[in-house]
Symmetry: C2
Amino acid sequence: MSEFEIIRRYFTRASSSAVLGIGDDAALVRVAPECELAVSTDTLIEGRHFFAGADPYPLGRKSLAVNLSDMAAIGAQPRWILLSLSLPGADEKWLELFSRGLFELADKHAVELIGGDTCRGPLSICVTIMGEVAAGRALRRDGARPGDDVWVSGSLGDAALALAHLENRIALSPDDFERCARALDYPVPRIELGRKLHGIASALIDISDGLTADLGHILERSHVGATIKVAGIPRSAILRRYLPARAALQALLAGGDDYELCFTAPSSLRAEVKALARKVDVPLTCIGKIESAGGLRLLDERGHAVDMELRAFDHFA
Amino acid sequence: MSEFEIIRRYFTRASSSAVLGIGDDAALVRVAPECELAVSTDTLIEGRHFFAGADPYPLGRKSLAVNLSDMAAIGAQPRWILLSLSLPGADEKWLELFSRGLFELADKHAVELIGGDTCRGPLSICVTIMGEVAAGRALRRDGARPGDDVWVSGSLGDAALALAHLENRIALSPDDFERCARALDYPVPRIELGRKLHGIASALIDISDGLTADLGHILERSHVGATIKVAGIPRSAILRRYLPARAALQALLAGGDDYELCFTAPSSLRAEVKALARKVDVPLTCIGKIESAGGLRLLDERGHAVDMELRAFDHFA
């Protein structure tokens, strides 16, 4: 199977939203008037972002999900993707499952694959995503203000708990592992929530590297600090059962891969946030407060500082 | 050196053309009114697209050059890039030289790096490029018509000749190798030419996989054929000296990596093509004719079919 055959058979579909899709030197799209183009890229590499031999169906899905999450995190409507795929060989079964996973999620969000490239090499998947956001309305990291509430969507830590199990840092029961692995393998990007936070959120980010690290980016960019009450961070019943094990606490505070959203909003808008939670059917929980004093303070139930070294994943640490 | 430190130190510059550059969940850009966005991606992988241990300065430059060439090949003005970099480690010297090569060429074309990602893994470089082209004016592959002339820019084969030498398929003198290696390591994307072919070219492509393969894409997409007179294909004095060696002929006809442009144009516009060649100071040579009968016919000086199996590089062949 040639490079062109791979592209034709597994990755070429008619595009309804692009001026020109796969098959020329570049794809062409028209960005809606009064919109800005939001663009982001995320690579998944075998042995770094996923285990060697990972199931290709969830992998195809997740390659797109992590990029969709970046669109959610800036409040954009995802529209188009490019896929740059490096493959050790032309494995038909793998390609069929991978592309199915990718396209199923793409279809769900009306996102179209309009270009990319394919070559032989170590397995790596680089997706570039483009989306539209009304001009001046993108939800950036730098808008948090002292007095704002800090919110997170869904619940945190299950994906990292599954990873901790796979790395033998904790031992989950088979049932618990299966449910946590679902969070790890099938993250749900919060697209609708991100888009509807316009006019409510003052700063927004997705939690891909862990709550403390990602909230840290908001604090740094906004030149503010925050106090978080750890007991209030939403978590699953499973994670709760494994607390206070260190790996479970790490998963909750510093685990990435859940792809929930963390945002700040003026406390005067609490009712709006709660109404939005009902509207998009995603739990939203207030976990703390933005303050003018820099830094991130984590408090336990008794108001004592949580004494724990939290380090987000760093590829070069 | 952490991931964020690498990004900050080597790849973060203030952007004057983006609404939001490096440092948020996505970059934001505004596409000019009445313009379409042209977008393309190209990955370079160690051991596939460049030799292990390749000099990082030309590598940084070339990673961008091959992407700029895609913008040239659709007639777009390149504007922004994303860089997704997988590195075996944080080698400061390598990063300094690689980023210098990249930014020098970016500055030359007023292209800005606005995002990307960095992680540890096998050395691979994925650049996504975005450019602007007046709506409806992109120069695609599907516009060639019977009777059109076939043109190529510059001269072909030197880069492939250098590669043939490195792979021991031909033996160049040290001086000849040095000059050919320059074509291989420092390709010049034909941006200005591509943009000024609006209103002249009926179809356009860049020669990255070899003349016969890339012209083949135009023929296929345009549902036409062509006859090319091999003797008329522009080549350097060096390449001429190594002909009729098989590797030299292969380099001329099927060698990629020169990143010249191949285009078709109505024969009524020959004077315009020649005037453009003078204006942009790039030689343009008519090498054949588009015909309604499908397929590509290569003729030697006596009008006989060139009997040679030409295969473009295929990563999965």
